[in-house]
């Protein structure tokens, strides 16, 4: 059974499922694919997977979500799981937030919506290697 996972976080379901299908199409059954509709749900998922000893390799997270924003979320994840590769995927560049995430969450990459498929996949491949 696969013990490695990729987590997608976005408050819009259409983004989540289309993103998941896209990633899954490229990486197949090598990984598990998890989705969360908010930063809070994502933090829960991370805890659960950790309990189940499933290792999250990459998180692809939106920035603008209700309540906790992407940068804050990734910083919190980074405190506990510094090894997870963190990618931000958002429709709006908030420079300060990106800088903060780069500085405090070791943000691996920042991709804007609407994203280019090959850019996303290449980023993930590079992050996974």
């Amino acid at each position: 059974m696969v013990k490695k996972a990729i987590l997608c976080v976005d408050d819009e379901e259409i983004i989540l499922t289309s993103l998941r299908d896209q990633i899954k199409n490229h990486f197949g059954d090598t990984y598990m694919y998890e989705m969360a509709e908010s930063a809070d749900e994502a933090l829960e998922v991370i805890e659960e997977l950790d309990e189940d000893q499933i290792e999250i390799l990459i998180i692809v997270s939106d920035w603008l979500m209700p309540n906790m924003k992407g940068d804050e979320f990734l910083i919190r994840v980074h405190e506990k799981f510094p090894r997870i590769v963190k990618v931000m995927l958002t429709g709006q560049a908030d420079e300060i937030a990106i800088e903060r995430a780069k500085k405090h969450a070791n943000l691996y990459s920042y991709i804007t919506k609407p994203w280019d498929e090959s850019e996303l996949i290449n980023t993930l491949k590079a992050g996974l290697s």
Binding site: I14, S18, Q22, E34, E44, M65, G91, T112
Partner: protein
């Protein structure tokens, strides 16, 4: 009139001696004299230089004085020149005729020169006074025209201000609105790619599947495809993993291989409650291939649905933008749904709201309101914009709409006198839980150019515009502010009544 002389007088008489006599006497008095010996000459002279007064003989050959007078009075150019007839004829009938053709006076020959002089002076004075009045009238007319133009300009400027204020607000929101469009665009782009890939797989898989399955199995497969519902509720990550574990166990109990991968796909497709209809397929040696084929069809269907939702979202934003930016100055009042207007503004502000505002709406059923819908949208925009800024982007925004049987009367106001008992209205209350408006500035917030925002952020016109728009609707606005709750209540009459303004 020439400043150097007392005025120009035209003397008309076919008797040259008379002309000479009168001209000589008047000349001595300082008048500028012209003369003519017959009617035609008189008309020509008037055309060349308009005199201030005409002394006109009645009895002349060819054209008599009456005819000359009539013609001069008919021409607007000369109609205002006073004409005094001088004639030996002193019958009553002729005097009446003289006045009826437009003369101002009548002197009979033989005349006393002092009489002529007094009458000439009097009529010149009258003529001058009349001319003064005419000039003043013309000036007034011009001033009036200028005022009307200024008023129209002001109105246009006000409309422009209204629009530019709206556009300034929009400018601040553009980045957020772009996000609202980029997000669905991202989903559409990814979904199309997913559909294309899944379709390629399906085209390879389906021919093989058809040869692989028996007619019964084929029927099972069709049943599976039909059951894959796209409208299922999305399961949380936790639920999904729990269902996967349960289904994996169930599959293992049936001795089905690759239980984990099968369970993952089946749960995603919404097949987890009862798998008995598909047991024949799941126990098939090629079960993974069969499920994967169904899964690829599911991907196409689900991503197609994603695109539908994304297009709807983007359209909603574009519609809101268009409705918001539209501004028809000449628009007539129309019946509109207030809630739809509020929704448009909330879509425009969705991005800002998402950053930390909780919106609580409480709408009663309300009838359509006769209003200027675009202008009301600006009212909601201004108040919601202020509320979000007051809360510094984080807090609770309450929007309530209620019906009232009558517009409440403000005892302090003498301005509006509405037939309240027959005037049901609606109240829109927009409240924030920000720090409140300090008491000392509450009286100022509706004044033009009053702003508490940093230079460049607010024109200070927002609430002034709001007030004006609401006045145009015969409505009223109230503010109730204390630390922790600031509420603006807008009362709008449902049925438009002619506003009765007491003249102050």
């Amino acid at each position: 009139m020439d400043n150097n002389t007392k005025g120009t007088i035209l003397v008309v008489d076919d008797t040259r001696a008379n002309v000479r006599l009168l001209a000589g006497l008047l000349d001595e008095q300082g008048y500028n004299i012209q003369f003519a010996f017959n009617g035609n000459m008189a008309l020509t002279s008037v055309q060349r230089l308009l005199p201030d007064l005409i002394l006109l003989d009645i009895k002349m050959p060819d054209m008599d004085g009456f005819e000359v007078c009539k013609r001069l009075k008919e021409d607007p150019y000369s109609s205002n020149v006073p004409i005094i007839f001088i004639s030996a004829l002193d019958e009553v009938l002729d005097k009446v005729k003289a006045f009826s053709v437009g003369a101002v006076d009548y002197i009979t020959k033989p005349f006393q020169f002092q009489e002529v002089l007094v009458r000439v002076e009097t009529h010149l004075k009258l003529r001058n006074l009349q001319r003064d009045v005419e000039e003043k009238n013309a000036e007034l007319g011009q001033a009036n025209q200028q005022l009307s133009k200024t008023l129209a300009d002001l109105k246009a400027t006000q409309d422009e201000l209204l629009q530019s204020e709206k556009m300034a607000v929009l400018g601040q929101l553009v980045a957020g609105v772009a996000h609202e469009i980029n997000s669905p665009l991202g989903a559409i782009r990814a979904s199309i790619s997913n559909i294309t890939n899944a379709l390629d797989y399906s085209l390879q898989q389906l021919p093989r599947l058809l040869t692989l399955l028996s007619p019964e199995e084929r029927a099972d497969f069709m049943w599976l495809i039909e059951t894959i519902t796209c409208n299922k509720e999305r399961l949380s990550s936790r639920e999904t993993r729990k269902l996967r574990r349960v289904l994996k166990k169930t599959l293992e109990e049936y001795n089905i291989d690759q239980s984990h991968l099968l369970a993952e796909r089946l749960v995603e497709m919404g097949v987890y409650e009862d798998i008995t209809p598909y047991l024949r397929l799941l126990k098939h040696p090629e079960s993974m291939f069969i499920v994967q084929t169904a899964y690829n069809l599911y991907i196409q269907k689900n991503n197609g649905r994603n695109i539908m939702i994304a297009v709807k979202k983007a359209s909603k934003v574009v519609f809101a933008l268009r409705s918001y930016a539209r501004y028809d100055v000449s628009a007539e009042m129309s019946k509109a749904n207030i809630i739809e207007g509020l929704d448009i503004v909330l879509v425009i502000y969705h991005n800002q709201i998402k950053r930390g505002i909780e919106v609580v709406t409480n709408y009663e059923d309300i009838p359509p309101v006769l209003c200027y819908p675009d202008e009301l949208n600006q009212v909601w925009t201004n108040i919601i914009h202020n509320a979000i800024q007051a809360m510094q982007g984080k807090g609770r925004l309450e929007i309530a709409i209620r019906r009232l049987e009558a517009m409440p009367i403000d005892p302090a106001s003498t301005e509006i006198d509405l037939p309240t008992s027959t005037n049901p209205c609606i109240v829109v209350t927009i409240a924030d839980n920000g720090p409140g408006i300090p008491l000392e500035i509450q009286d100022n917030i509706f004044k033009p150019f009053f702003t508490t925002k940093p230079t460049g952020e607010g024109s200070g016109l927002g609430l002034d515009i709001v007030q004006k728009i609401i006045n145009r609707h015969n409505g009223k606005i109230e503010v109730n502010s204390q630390p922790g709750r600031t509420a603006f209540s807008i009362y709008l009459p449902v049925k438009y009544e002619t506003k009765l303004v007491k003249n102050k």
